[in-house]
Amino acid sequence: MAEQVHGTIYGINGPVIKVHSEHAFQMLEMVLVGHARLIGEVIRIVDKETIVQVYETTTGLKVGEPVISTGKPLTIKLGPGIIGNIFDGIERPLSRIAENTGAFLKRGSVMDNLDHDKLWDVKILVRRGEKVGPGKVIAEVQETSSVLHKIMVPPNMEGEVAEVAADGQYTINQVIVRIQEGKTIHNLTLVQEWPVREARPYKKRQPLDIPLVTGQRVIDTLFPIAKGGTAAIPGGFGTGKTLTQHQLAKWSDADIIVYVGCGERGNEITEVLEDFPKLIDPRNGRPLMERTVLIGNTSNMPVAAREASIYTGITLAEYYRDMGYHVAIMADSTSRWAEALREISGRLEEMPAEEGFPAYLPSRLSEFYERAGRVENFNGTEGSVSIIGAVSPQGGDFSEPVTQNTKRFIRCFWALDKSLAYTRHYPAINWINSYSEYLEDLAPWYEENANADFMEKRIRLSRILQEEGKLLDIVKLIGSDILPDEQKLILEIARAIRQGFLQQNAYHEQDTYVPIKKQYLMMDSLLKLYDRALKLLPLGIPVSVIRNTGVFEDVIRIKYTISNDDPGAFETLNQDIAARLDALEADYRSSERVKVQ
């Protein structure tokens, strides 16, 4: 097919170019720019002038170079070969680019997104004459050892199966099934295409009442997120956003993880690439990389592709959701994406709203977060997309536009705190400012799967922490010595909760991931200790004496001393603590008696 030149470059300003043409470009259409055929996207049309944002560096482009229309919006290819791979913001495979062009990214590396030559073992699941509709699974491919890839009829297509290939080995572009819809015949291969800015359709939404279990105590117990839910992790630099995102990518109980490194550090992507293949999924014993797909558009890669990377990520997530998987997407960081919007908006000389961000920032954010959800798919399966977006507020100030607007569209807010990070309390999630709106919906699940009084205990735990927050304000002014013993005990138990429960060591083999059951037992031991100690106070036993028995240190060390698969040890520990405090009480009573005599 001879390609036709549809327009010529007229003006260049960074990643934004002006095109003059007689051809009517479509809004958000993908175009190829210049002799180097750089990929771009139409973002504004004024009469015969079309504005295009280019996904690559524009150095060296000249006025008068051709611009070619593709007639379709920015689309990505969906098919086997996605999982375990790393792509840039517009789904170009970075590892295959590296094989071709070496360590540095050259411009215009037009490449097939998925490997064309690889043969996949395909098992066909439909028969001739069968009626099929959107989402119907027509074949299966074992994509990695953890992921069974289901080849589906694309949305907006139905008909009767006219022809099927035999089971066997196929490349992604070979036709495996033909479908007759009226008079047209659709040739289905292992891949389908989808425009990234459009949400993939589903049958209906489901309530969000199952948690996405992350193995992180402060999240699972205090501020849980539902499967299909949305969460934001805001925090200034150095508060551990990326570390938290990595932990979630490693341990959350989703089937597929899409990790979008959007405008962040190159070394962080490298770290994931080096770590994940070595880490083992606790659920099936397979390497974590076999359920992960990475989108890496680091801060020094072209800014327009950074803007697109979020959409590429969510489209991949939705595609796997349609197969009936629970997918979690981590976007690190949405602020860089918002800045990319701002940068392009600035080049277009649009009227800025707050802090130079364009006025459409909130609507773009809401569109993105609304693509999360737990749904029933057309093929009857159930899948979900959970979005966890990191936010990097300017100056660590949560009142800035990106944090504020994000807050309106998410229901789980994990606020990272600089002062916690300074004391190396990780994850540095502040328990006073954070919240989860999913608690009520998730309560039945916890009561059924963890323990009937899970929620009750959770409330007691968070009440102690709230109380401590108030007391610490007083302590700051007058010191802790003059507080009454009940309040000293609150401070003491809250310290144990903070150090023993909320702090979690990502580098400790056992502590990096803690199952819900153990989280409950830890909480239980802490509260049992509190209740028992509280009973000692009326006898006049000072908190310092209780502290000297070392019981608090023992519960703090539970995370290291009791392994994840040994719930029985809790019983022993609780009895041991009770026995020591009983002994203290007996001791005290006898010495009281001596005094009285």
Partner: protein, 467 residues
């Protein structure tokens, strides 16, 4: 033969606008002849036949009709050769030391190309700087970008010199170690201080210096770090050298960017800085690192002065989001006479977690560092309390913390400009100071390690330490 364009359409600050230009490409270099003098410029925007050009030497003396402009058909290239070592260049990479021209082995586009994240190698090798606060608590790793956040009047230059002088990079020796120093908008005496220090340290022939001084053209400042980093990339990836790049002062660089953005009439974002400040800074900082299959490495130490000592100002803020940690200097410590005035709580090295401990530094390093951080954080809380109720009213344990804080600052953080402590000395010092606190307080150290290492300090020793 390229066409010469006569005259200009408009002049605005460091920018000139030329009309009727044919076949210009984006970011192409142009040569502007004003009378007998030649100046260089770069096309930063094209609209039809109109080009906006930034003039590196400034626009003074240019009028609308006294210029002739010629397109050079290529972006700004940096001539590269191993002979650059030991040379002093201006902000655009032209020799200013009177030692003659450089005969290039290669010539590279100064904008560089982003490293493909799959081809990066994760940095893990510790660089010993001999400075306890850095080695112990914010460890510098080969291939890291670790900026120094400083303020006016603080000894960041001394600190940088001390790091350069003492840095021991694993795998580096005299033959494959180089320093690239880029000065952007710094005063002559500061540049001279660095030159003399390099000379005294006997490393001058391993240094490439790029000098854009405070009175040099602002536009040139935009390309200075790029020329320097291109040189560093050449030395690291072509010549297999371990390169330490010092960029000072990034604040002047960002301000130059703002100045040009404002003369282009762009829409400003925070504090008048252009919306692309983050991407622009990233295009510099991200050029640090290790590339798979290449022997060399690039480690960056950018220095920036925080305007009004404000860490939330856009420049330190955006820098902190890109770099792998930061070393923060503090006026309060400086006034107490502590050198280097590194305030450890906001300081951080993100790559430290994978580059310390067994096999890298010493097995106990992570726990000791963690404990020192946590205990010193507690000291700060208690100091705040003491300032309200008075130190005498503090509980005994709080008093111990106060004492620990004083010793920590005076013994661990403070050290002489010429003192080179190896990592064992630093960690042993840490253990000694932890001996000032009771064992129960050390909750970040495992019981087994405490058993084998912890020695409480008795009062005689404390008294001795004080003197």
């Amino acid at each position: 033969m390229s066409i010469e364009y006569m005259g200009l359409k408009e002049i605005s600050g460091p920018l000139v606008i030329i009309d009727g230009v044919k076949d210009a490409s984006f970011e192409e270099m142009v040569e502007i002849t004003v009378g007998k003098q030649k100046r260089l410029g770069r096309i930063i925007q094209i609209e039809g036949e109109t080009c906006v050009v930034q003039v590196f030497e400034g626009t003074m003396g240019i009028s609308l009709d006294n210029t002739r402009t010629r397109l050079q058909g290529k972006p700004l290239m940096m001539p590269l050769s191993k002979e650059l070592l030991g040379r002093v260049l201006d902000g655009m990479g032209r020799p200013v030391d009177g030692l003659g021209e450089i005969y290039p082995d290669k010539s590279w586009d100064i904008n560089g190309e982003p490293i493909n994240p799959v081809m990066r190698e994760y940095p893990r090798n510790f660089i010993q700087t001999g400075i306890s606060s850095i080695d112990g608590l914010t460890t510098l790793i080969r291939g890291q970008k670790l900026p120094v956040f400083s303020g006016s009047g603080l000894p960041h230059n001394q600190l940088a010199v001390q790091i350069v002088r003492q840095a021991k990079i694993t795998g580096a020796n005299e033959d494959n170690f180089a320093i690239v120093f880029a000065a952007m908008g710094v005063k002559y005496d500061v540049a001279e201080y660095f030159r003399q220090s390099f000379e005294k340290g006997g490393v001058l022939d391993r240094v490439v210096m790029f000098l854009n001084l405070a009175n040099d053209p602002v536009v040139e400042r935009i390309v200075t770090p790029r020329c320097a980093l291109t040189t560093a990339e050449y030395l690291a990836y072509e010549r297999g050298m371990h390169v330490l790049v010092i960029l000072t002062d990034m604040t002047s660089y960002a301000e130059a960017l703002r100045e040009i953005s404002s003369s282009k009439g762009e829409i400003p974002s925070r504090k008048g800085y252009p919306g692309y400040l983050y991407s622009d800074l990233a295009s510099l900082y991200e050029r640090a690192g290790l590339v798979r299959g290449c022997k060399g490495s690039i480690t960056q130490i950018p220095i920036l002065t925080m305007p009004n000592d404000d860490i939330t100002h856009p420049i330190p803020d955006l820098t902190g989001y890109i770099t792998e940690g930061q070393i923060v200097l503090d006026k309060g410590l400086h006034q107490k006479g502590i050198y280097p005035p590194v305030i450890v709580l906001p300081s951080l090295s993100r790559l430290m977690k994978d580059g310390i401990g067994k096999g890298y530094t010493r097995e106990d390093h992570p726990q000791v560092a963690n404990q020192l951080f946590a205990s010193y954080a507690k000291v700060q809380e208690i100091r705040a309390l003491a300032s309200v109720i008075g130190e005498d009213e503090l509980s005994d344990i709080d008093k111990k913390y106060m004492r620990f804080g004083r010793f920590f600052e005076a013994q661990f953080i403070a050290q002489d400009f010429h003192e080179d402590r190896d990592i064992n000395q630093t960690l042993d010092l840490g253990w000694m100071l932890l001996g000032l606190l009771p064992k129960e307080e050390l909750d970040r150290i495992s019981p087994e390690l405490l058993e084998s290492r912890y020695v409480p300090m008795d009062e005689d020793e404390v008294a001795k330490l004080w003197t």
